[in-house]
């Protein structure tokens, strides 16, 4: 793996995903100034940054939910402009959103298949509930997610179970190339965390899926990532592979910049 050289290289085939100067504002709030990042095939990239740094906004752009004000996105070397979430999904981009994108009123299996339902009857799109229920049960058992009944409304599940469902929904897709995980471990217990970490590892190593993980727990990130990017004030300011940076250094750096920004605010 070439350490820290990615940004200087030409758009090589090994970059599955690359962004150039992505910017986006919400009215007066500048969420992203100019984001340049790249993601190699089978790589796990950790994205860290303070709250409000723009991480979730970047995820929403990469998944077709927001359209950026400026900048370019390249998928496998070709420029793409996602018109919708459906569009991004068709390009093989799957996402676990920070809020999980689950509907509490709906059952576990309806959530797993939401907007990708198994249907019959052509134009009428009748739900094939029996097929979906069985497939959901089988898949959750396969990956080891413990849900007593797939008929349970998601609102009745624990936070960790909900996150597991959201992750399961994303990794269930067969054409998946890029997986975006926005704080997927936030509400999880130890057992569920190791389950998800195991899933991420096997996806990147066996299925060669490229993954971006956002998380505030640097210990977890060092367990799963190949490379870390720090995003500050809407820009990627640090891009280091794990061989170049130690956990303590990263923590030190984050704490210092946090203090630093506090100082400038006071001054």
């Amino acid at each position: 793996m070439t350490p820290n050289g990615g940004t200087n290289e030409p758009a090589g085939v090994e970059d599955v995903l690359r962004t150039e100067h992505i910017s986006m504002s919400f009215g007066p709030v500048i969420a992203l100034r100019s984001v340049n990042l790249h993601l190699r095939r089978g790589e796990v990239l950790g994205l860290v940054g303070d709250n409000g740094a723009g991480k979730s906004t970047l995820v929403k752009i990469l998944t077709g939910l927001h359209r950026p004000d400026g900048g370019r996105i390249y998928l496998e070397g070709e420029e793409v402009k996602f018109r919708s979430v459906r569009d991004a999904r068709q390009h093989g981009i799957e996402t676990v959103f920070q809020n999980l994108a689950l509907v509490g009123e709906l059952s576990v299996y309806h959530n797993l298949f939401l907007n990708r339902e198994y249907t019959r009857g052509g134009w009428f799109r009748f739900l094939g509930n029996r097929v979906m229920r069985a497939a959901a049960r089988q898949f959750l058992d396969e990956i080891g997610v413990n849900i007593p009944s797939v008929d349970t409304p998601v609102a009745e599940l624990s936070g960790g179970q909900r996150q597991a469902i959201a992750v399961a929904r994303a990794v269930r897709q067969e054409n998946i190339k890029v997986l975006l995980l926005d704080e997927p471990l936030a509400a999880m217990g130890a057992k569920e965390t190791s389950l998800i970490i195991g899933l991420i590892n096997s996806l990147s190593k066996k299925a060669n899926v490229s993954i971006i993980v956002i998380d505030h727990n640097y210990t977890h990130l060092f367990e799963i990532c190949d490379r870390i990017n720090v995003i500050q004030h809407g820009q990627v300011t640090v891009d280091k592979s794990l061989s170049e940076i130690k956990l303590e250094e990263l923590i030190e750096f984050m704490v210092q910049t946090f203090r630093g920004s506090g100082k400038t605010l006071v001054d």
Binding site: F97, N99, A101, V103, E105, N115, F126
Partner: protein, 360 residues
């Protein structure tokens, strides 16, 4: 006896959380409302020999059917967390559209189809104004309701007329005494399958339950909402044409808002949450039965028309209070309907106050 008592909780604990229990748990409002309906039926049967008769069955069906159709039309919109206040006015104006097209030289059947298309168009405007222009649907559809009332009063000069046409078509549409009941049943069946059995229905519940999640799942939220407004307007218009042929006369000055509120009330009695995310077509029909029986029953009992509104209002209140209280007493999570939330908040404040008083 005393030796049996300790065994009881053990037996209770052994009962598994069966499918039936889950069903009742999820549809408690519907279950309670059907019990209220049965109670009302028994009450009126005891009170008057004229209630439980085949002759009155027809009359009763003609009370229930319009309420049911308005409720069925509103349920998808209400699940989305929106409301369509113009559906009753759509009902008033649609037969006039038939007259208009017929006077313009179009045959009756085609006029009916055109009138329904116009209603769809008006529903589309409701949807576009509230979704694309971001006007709250309460205001957007209220504006539509008043505008429609104005248009039809101007067009008709406020004078009642008769609906156009005669023969088999008219009989099917509304001339036959039971046709309204059949329309209601047919529409209920179609709407039920639509809501429970198709992706469109699933997406309605998804959008109503959590709009942001639905959007992130790639569901076209705006498209779903707009279609629900179109569907609501279409059903309102259809009901107007059916009822116009049933009544045999059209009065442009009839107040559509009242009809709309009967529909919304039926839906809410039947378990649809005004805050969105929850509602069933079966519940809407049960709610319409409750409301229809109240109207019809008290009329049979000879309640004066002035007192009727009072009695109707009080019965609705009692039915809803019963519903909410039973739901609160049995459900673990007290976050179902908006009424439930309001009552539970008041209840909590009340309990806390009493606790405070006991302490001090």
């Amino acid at each position: 006896m005393s030796s049996d008592t300790p065994a009881l909780p053990v037996v209770k604990r052994r009962i598994p959380a069966s499918v039936m229990r889950r069903f009742i748990g999820q549809h408690l409002t519907e279950v309670v409302s059907s019990l209220v309906a049965v109670a009302l039926a028994i009450f009126f049967t005891i009170e008057s020999p004229n209630f439980f008769t085949s002759a009155n069955a027809l009359v009763l069906s003609q009370f229930i059917a319009p309420f049911a159709i308005f409720a069925l039309a509103e349920v998808p919109v209400l699940i989305l967390g929106e409301i369509d206040l113009s559906v009753g006015q759509m009902y008033i104006v649609s037969p006039f559209f038939v007259t208009y097209w017929n006077h313009a030289g179009v045959p009756v059947l085609a006029s009916v189809v055109l009138a329904l298309l116009v209603c769809c168009g008006l529903g589309l405007i409701n949807g576009l104004v509230s979704v694309s222009l971001r006007v709250p649907s309460f205001i957007a559809t209220l504006g539509m309701a008043f505008a429609l009332r104005g248009i039809i009063l101007i067009y008709s000069h406020g004078a009642p007329t008769n609906p156009i046409g005669s023969g088999t078509l008219v009989n099917i549409l509304g001339g036959w005494p039971w046709s309204e009941a059949f329309w209601a049943l047919g529409i209920a069946a179609v709407m039920h399958v639509m809501l429970r059995g198709t992706t469109f229905g699933l997406h309605i519940v998804a959008v109503g339950g959590n709009t942001e999640s639905a959007r992130e799942s790639g569901i076209r939220v705006d498209y779903i909402k707009i279609w629900c407004f179109v569907l609501c307007a279409l059903l309102g218009g259809l009901m107007g044409i059916v009822d116009g042929y049933h009544l045999g006369s059209l009065d442009p000055a009839t107040d559509g808002l009242t009809f709309m509120f009967y529909g919304v009330t039926s839906a809410v009695i039947g378990g649809t949450a005004l805050t969105g995310g929850r509602g069933t077509m079966v519940g809407a029909c049960i709610g319409a039965c409750v409301l229809g029986m109240i109207k019809n029953g008290f009329l049979i009992l000879g309640t004066s028309s002035f007192a009727l509104d009072l009695v109707t209002g009080l019965t609705i209140l009692v039915a809803m209070i019963l519903n909410v209280q039973i739901e609160l007493a049995t459900s673990k999570r007290g976050s179902r309907g908006s009424f439930g939330q309001v009552v539970s908040v008041i209840f909590t404040i009340f309990v806390q106050r009493r606790k405070g008083r006991v302490r001090s």
